[in-house]
């Protein structure tokens, strides 16, 4: 545990004491987001120490020109990346003409940060002794409104402790910002207008190339001794910065307070010409409510989210804090209001992983959003890919595929590929299968078939076409083989016949053929439209069936397991536990070639297939595969432990399941990978949720019915979670003694618990 400076608390993340070395890590951990925008926990006032500045607007990106060592045909020319947006939180503070800067003041004491997850706000307070001898205490509270999602609010209170002083406080906007991960040090923003009106200020700027127009705005309200003060600001203005400077004599012990309202309006949602007006409207709404009124709304909105998505754990506060942190961050990142948005691996907490959407969304995040939100949210995630289908077809064409075959990108912002490492970009094609699987999973969980005839079937056809073209017939094997792929285990590159990818390919084709029959039967009009649009012929589907029926899967008779890929058994099979500690983590200690030829697995690969298609294999077979592969798995991806936790639970290995759970739930809080300063691992947080609900709770949908096989780690007294299953809200409480179920919304429901039928009636707690 490297982050012991974070206090354990069930509802808050708390840091006490100032340590400059922790600033960047805390900037990640205390990040705020409201689905529409987000920001790292950068200080409002000047800070000349090490910091990683980041404000982000959902869906606003920049296509940076690709930079590689050696160009390979097929690389995308541009790499869309998350863009650091103009800063609206900045507040310059001078006390008797000395700039407040925690890096240069004489001393800092009583430094504390709190991220209140229950209510959705972040507070920082400290007492600083300045070079000029003045001691001040500062308390800054801020939140990004869920209610008016263009707006955030800051309450910044300064109290001189040892003398009367002159305070100059200057809230400002700044569009002269850069990205840390820029490839060519291009300028990403072009500022077109910097303006103020009384206590309001506006910066209009648009992104280069993508031309997203934005208005970054703010309004300042000042209070002295608790009462509003009307002051005329002194204006500070440059090409890309505007500040409103207020001067006030402040008596010792009296608080001088700024309420700063700020945020963005964006041309994604409004006409460019109206951005300033929309900003003014938002400020009007926010200031009418006032800081406290807006905060009250914030608390109510978060209460509603928690009401549906909270997981409680009794008897383990660390675990409680961990799971809530995960749920909180997922809700800060994506709320499903806008099908153009998706879930970036770092959310609004950093720049890394350039583009925003990975297969993480379909494989890990969808179950969380299906179970804790209304159905429309999951639909939005599926619709996102439907809207990118044309681009996926273009992407496949660039790689030589024909006839409407679709390859979804490894990483994307707008449907275009944004990744440039050949072994991943061109070869980690299993991502395509996860998109078909998500369609299946959505139907399985929600029972809603309407997505498939409306949108899903076209996606399924494009993907099936891809797989059909991607295999080739091996004369030698007299079977179809899939050469040159990278599986989920990225510690292997360019392998032949990766079992997971081939199995998924076969399943995608089979499932698509099945859905074609169903849609033909029940939605003949949709069927006719889709057949006509895609030019699908019987010859083609017959060819698909031929491939799906005769695809090669590497298998070891001796070990009775499917092999991760051809040649896996040629490796030097030393188990992870027999490696010297100095060799771990191998991704830091070993050269890349050594990693590649080793048997070590970065994240579930064959076992990912056993997770997706659990019902295709017996528990005995799962056990054989788990026992064969887990000992070689180094879990150096944040997405690995959750799948293993779920499977260990299924195999009744609760100690192991719990160990895996711990790694996933406090990955960032405890900074296992020593990289939290770059941002949080948002998508893997959904895996944590799965570990509890699907792993410990054993939730499944089998034969169209909700089923549970509850288990509990011996370290816990009890835990409880809620799910929205087909518009019934069900609370599940698991203790060592019993499991109880309660429908809090909805009608009667028949479920299975440990393979036995149980009837749930609204309002009644049923033990099973």
């Amino acid at each position: 545990m490297n982050q012991d400076y974070i206090k354990v608390d069930p509802w808050s993340i708390i840091e006490e004491g100032f340590d400059a070395k922790q600033v960047k890590s805390s900037e990640s951990l205390f990040s705020l987001g409201n689905g529409a925008m987000g920001q790292r926990a950068n200080f409002e006032e000047e800070y000349t120490g090490e910091t990683f500045q980041g404000s982000y607007i959902a869906g606003v990106y920049y296509p940076d020109k690709t930079r590689v060592g050696w160009w390979k045909n097929g690389y995308p020319e541009y790499f869309a990346k998350v863009l650091n947006a103009p800063n609206w939180i900045g507040i310059e503070v001078l006390i008797n003409e000395e700039l407040v800067d925690l890096n240069t003041c004489k001393s800092v004491r009583e430094f504390k940060r709190e991220l209140n997850m229950r209510e959705g706000w972040y507070q920082r307070s400290f007492t600083a002794l300045l070079q000029n001898g003045v001691e001040i205490s500062v308390r800054s509270t801020r939140f990004l409104s869920l209610d008016i999602d263009a707006v955030g609010a800051i309450k910044y209170e300064i109290t001189p402790l040892n003398q009367d002083v002159e305070v100059i406080i200057a809230p400002y906007l700044d569009s002269g910002i850069t990205n840390e991960d820029s490839n060519w040090d291009d300028k990403f923003w072009n500022t077109t207008n910097v303006d103020s009106e009384g206590s309001q200020a506006f910066i209009e700027a648009h992104t280069m190339k993508t031309n997203f127009a934005t208005c970054t705005f703010m309004e300042a309200k000042l209070f002295y001794k608790g009462s509003p003060v009307e002051m005329k600001p002194h204006l500070k203005k440059t090409d890309s910065l505007i500040g409103l400077s207020y001067k006030q004599k402040v008596e010792k012990g009296e608080p001088f307070t700024l309420h700063k309202f700020g945020g963005y309006t964006v041309s994604r949602d409004h006409k460019e010409s109206e951005l300033v007006q929309v900003a003014k409207d938002a400020l009007f709404s926010a200031t009418t409510l006032g800081y406290e009124g807006l905060l009250q709304k914030q608390k109510e909105a978060w209460a509603k989210i928690w009401e549906m998505s909270d997981i409680t754990i009794n008897g383990d506060v660390k675990a409680q804090q961990g799971i809530r942190f995960n749920i909180f961050q997922l809700n800060q990142t994506y709320l499903g209001k806008d099908s153009r948005l998706n879930i970036g691996p770092k959310g609004f907490t950093g720049e890394k992983y350039g583009g925003s959407t990975y297969w993480d969304t379909e494989a890990y995040c969808l179950p969380f959003y299906m179970a804790t939100k209304n159905q429309q949210v999951a639909w939005s995630l599926l619709e996102y890919r439907y809207n990118h289908l044309e681009k996926a077809i273009e992407n496949a064409q660039k790689l030589g595929f024909k006839n409407g075959a679709a390859l979804y990108p490894m990483v994307t912002m707008n449907g275009e590929e944004c990744h440039n490492e050949w072994e991943i970009t061109f070869e980690e094609i299993h991502r395509n299968g996860a998109i078909s699987f998500a369609i299946y999973n959505y139907h399985r969980y929600t029972g809603d078939y309407s997505y498939i005839p409306k949108m899903g079937l076209e996606v399924l056809i494009g993907i099936a076409r891809f797989w059909h073209q991607r295999v080739n017939f091996s004369e030698d094997k007299q079977q179809y083989v899939m050469l040159g792929v990278t599986g989920p285990n990225e510690y292997e590159n360019n392998v032949n016949n990766n079992w997971y990818t081939s199995y998924l390919a076969k399943w995608c084709i089979d499932y698509t053929l099945e859905q074609l029959e169903i849609v033909k039967e029940i939605c003949p009009k949709d069927y006719a439209r889709i057949i006509s649009k895609t030019n699908l012929t019987i010859t083609e589907t017959d060819d698909w069936a031929k491939v799906a029926g005769n695809i090669y899967f590497p298998y070891s008779e001796k070990h009775e397991v499917f092999l991760q890929q051809d040649g896996f058994l040629d490796k030097e099979m030393i188990k992870v536990e027999d490696l010297d500690k100095s060799d771990r983590p191998i991704n830091q200690k070993w050269s890349w070639d050594r990693i590649l030829r080793s048997p070590y697995i970065k994240q579930a690969d064959v076992l990912q297939g056993f997770y997706f298609f659990e019902d295709h294999f017996s528990k005995e077979s799962l056990e054989k595969h788990f026992d064969f592969y887990e000992p070689f798995t180094v879990h150096e991806s944040s997405l690995s432990p959750c799948v293993h936790s779920i499977q260990a639970a299924k195999l009744d290995r609760m100690d192991q399941a719990y160990t895996f759970y711990l790694r996933t739930s406090r990955l960032d809080l405890d900074d296992y990978n020593k990289e939290v300063e770059e941002g949080l691992h948002i998508t893997s947080m959904a895996g944590t949720w799965m570990s509890i609900v699907e792993g410990f709770g054993g939730m499944r949908i089998l034969n169209n019915q909700l089923c549970f096989t509850p288990r509990i780690p011996k370290q816990w007294e009890s835990y409880a979670f809620k799910i929205n299953f087909r518009n019934q809200i069900i609370t599940v409480t698991v203790s060592g003694q019993y499991t109880s179920f309660e429908i809090t919304e909805g009608k009667e429901l028949s479920i299975q618990v440990n393979d036995k039928p149980v009837s749930l009636i609204p309002g009644k707690v049923v033990q099973a």
Copy 2:
């Protein structure tokens, strides 16, 4: 043939007519070099059109910070690259105050370039009508002296054709130059002193980081109407440029001539403090001889080179020009005087391929230098690698190898790895074997064993150790396997059990064990020294033997061929001839993943092994392998056709052999790959030489004896080459009717021709 503008001539490369689009290509084709320095055929006078400026000093490089898309552990942090050096050829010319610039003048006629390969000079002449109405003719001749290799000379003659004019001629030096392929636009040169003394000028500059100090120097001599003129120059001087400007009234029809002597002295060869003095000494020697005297020496030196290395072809002027161009460029690039130098793939003709030394040196260039130079030159090439042994051991350590295992770099300047593409840098390890093979080949050809006990055995041990550690034991196969390699065919990456690499590895170990026994026997002192230095134990060599005796080679019983790697037969085996033309070349038309999973071979892979170890396999087996692999070979490497030409000749398929020969011999002259403007393919030129001598001539060393199996393409009347075999100079002439041999230097020699013994006596022409 894309370069039809180059005239066919047996001894010269000639361009007639000015075409701005051809300037960059011609700058490559007409490049000059003398082993110590070189330069592209840039114009001396101002040229504002498209040009690629390049002057290079042998062994002077810069470690540019590596730039990659995604960093992989083990990548070198710096990438040494060939450095564009200060320009000493520049001459500014003003006619009645108008700057002569072929890009802006009214018209250019009678533009001609000639590279006289027999005598080693380059001449350019033209008549230009300037904007101001003056017509001038210019003739510029230059060469880089083989005699005083710090010095080059230019004779620049200007004759006004239609009126008397005022000429200002300003020879200059310029260190304000850049590299086209800089990664971060770093400044590579720091100029410390710019100075002049009468008609001499000097710029002292050193490279950043590597701190090579250089003095770039020049001296000007002027002649009017054929007589020397003494003039005081007007000085032009900046931080990084110095020019000596001379003004002269020139009558219509009279030549005004500048002799410019220039070049470099370098801290690699002299004390930094003496560089200016050494430069003055060199200028004194050069100017004492004078331009004509120095040119006379140049002709004599080249005559001597041709005397030994010329190949004559009767009945095919294009082929004659092609082979001479190859031989000429090899001699311009490397003369074997300095074992710190080597043969860069682009020689002194461009920047590409950053570092200078590839496995090309050992696999392709060594035979040429062994047979056309004295033995010391080949020794220097071997010594180069011996001197880099420590760095090769460090390089292996970085990748996790232990105990003195050595991995020579893929690309290097100073022994450090300079390549950063994981599938090549870390995996194209067969290069290591080529270095052992070169040691064997040197002994086989020269009969000189002394290199092995003195230096070679240590290299062999380091390499054997690498192979021993690089394989692992497959429990499944009960054999040693080599996973995750890239063979010579770079259209496959990260494959298992590449036959060529594994076979070479086995051979390296066997050969090293054999040499250990021999050195122990015949040089016990050296043996003791080496064993002590390397800590080699019996246990270790026993382990080596175990690996070499049980290494796995993929083999197809059905096809009776060794397989290029595991899984090769799973590919979709469509022959190259059945591909659509629009698919070729695949490296331009296909995405990288598609290339990788295709069966197409970039350059000889299994067949490279059959070339190296020809005596291990029957001709029938060669034929089977040739017929199996050649149809899938796209020859998209300049190193591919020569090996195929040699083997086709051996199989008596002379038409095919000749076709391959043509592709290799005029690769640059005819610009097959449409990239000659980036520089010439120097190392593959040695392959051309091999195609004639080993391919058509069938030269081999078998059982310590020189052997020939001569053949001749039906397109040729006869051809002749010379070789230095163990200090006997033998001329071999092959015609359709007979082959004749003559020893021009040396004593009696018994050789084999078509498997029959033939005795050669000095001075006597023997027909066989």
